[in-house]
Symmetry: C2
Subunit: 266 residues, 2 copies
């Protein structure tokens, strides 16, 4: 057992298993390797685990085997809290930029990540496993209690075909009529929301025209510069979170858990 104060945890892991006191949790080869050979943890060391349903728990390493690690769940550290109801629809970008979108959108608290193909979308497929791995890693790192739901990629028109009537879709449009984002979001107020970010080449004009006719679409402008798609993702999510999301509340619950220098979580 490495030298650490009682209660301190050496990392945070997302798991699928149910979490409750005394529950056993098995980790796969990759996680076991990470704990043993990267973090150099041993039997008796503690990690934090969360599964998106049962809050965050301290769990203690029982032992390692060839390609596995088992943990026993001990005390609860945080109770599950509701996450904002915020979807991100985005045109897939090339590798590197799409990794970034998954990481940043997760940090920014989206509940659903949804790749959609627009007319000028360059990549015509998405590596969903890679997207999910990036989202999980970001959730572990940023102290989220959940991982965004990853929805099957679809052509934009199909994604919008069964759109829920009460959910506003903020269209981040680099051309055409659009109101300043803060003004439009303030007027809309808190509600189930989604943001739509186009591809690097922008939306097609006909696409913007069609989108503008949909009753749930609110075109918004992100200022006078042309933002890269990955920049627009973070920027638009920041506007929503700060005006209508979980960045609006004062108080202890809304501040990140304090991470002391002696208790790294990564």
């Amino acid at each position: 057992m490495t030298d650490q104060p009682q209660g301190a945890v050496k990392t945070r892991l997302y798991v699928e298993s149910p979490l409750a006191e005394g529950q056993s949790v098995g980790l796969d080869h990759e996680r076991a390797h990470f704990l043993r050979h990267v973090l150099r943890l041993d039997r008796g060391d503690a990690v934090a685990v969360f599964n998106g349903r049962d809050g965050e728990w301290r769990a203690v390493i029982d032992g390692f085997g060839k390609g596995w690690c088992s943990l026993t769940v001990a005390q609860q550290r945080r109770v599950q809290s509701a996450a904002p109801d915020l979807w991100l629809l985005f045109a897939p970008l090339k590798k590197g930029r799409i990794d970034f979108v998954a990481e940043k959108a997760t940090e920014m608290g989206v509940s659903r990540l949804w790749p959609v193909f627009t007319r000028r979308t360059d990549p015509n497929r998405v590596n969903s496993d890679r997207l999910r791995a990036n989202a999980i890693e970001a959730a572990e790192q940023c102290e989220r209690l959940s991982v965004p739901e990853l929805v099957e990629p679809l052509p934009l028109a199909r994604a919008l075909a069964d759109w829920p009537a009460d959910r506003r879709l903020f269209l981040c449009a680099e051309a055409g009529n659009a109101r300043p984002i803060a003004e439009a979001m303030r007027e809309t107020g808190p509600c189930p929301a989604a943001l739509l970010i186009g591809p690097e080449g922008g939306f097609d004009q006909s696409e913007l025209d069609e989108l503008g006719k949909l009753p749930f679409v609110v075109p918004v402008g992100l200022g006078p510069r042309i933002l890269r798609a990955d920049t627009a993702v973070v920027a638009a999510l920041a506007c929503w979170q700060s005006l209508s999301g979980d960045w609006t509340a004062d108080g202890g619950d809304t501040r990140p858990p304090f991470r002391s220098p002696t208790e790294p979580t990564v």
Copy 2:
């Protein structure tokens, strides 16, 4: 001369020279190579140039030599407009992440980029040439008419020693007392502003305490998740631009110039 409509430009370049009709502009080896061998431009082709003072101009390639290219400035395309007065003070990050900060902060419209060393800042030096090259590239790409001023890196305390009394410094604090960012920025209103983003490991508690005592410092919170420093840069800048900066205005001037698919600017 490649086949392009009159007036169309094939790329956008930042130059140091004064710009006015008939003026000659020389490009260095790297730019000349880029125009000739990457974009495959030739004598008579047009590019757009800007220098941060004289607006944006169409310029025509006169010819290439060994390691140079000369242009003649033709018509003005856009007049110079005022940029927001917004500084970004940030703790240097490792390569990759700091490139990202330079790119994103430029797209987000900062007027001054200022690396500052905090107690837990990991890299102890900054490659200013690289930072500047990233900022220039982003300015060319995002249709800005200027490049952020790059200030000599300093320890945080020294950067704050001669702070202008009328400039608010929004401290993006992951711990301690801080008001929700939108609320704090709305109350402060439009004014000369600066944002301070700490290092990956966060500020030291004593550092936060000292910062909190300075009359121009406004601590702000960015929600319940721990954001990476590079995420916090884009998010905090988006809040300021959308509430107090140049994303607030309606109207033609505040929409990006339309970039048609047949007129790529990169």
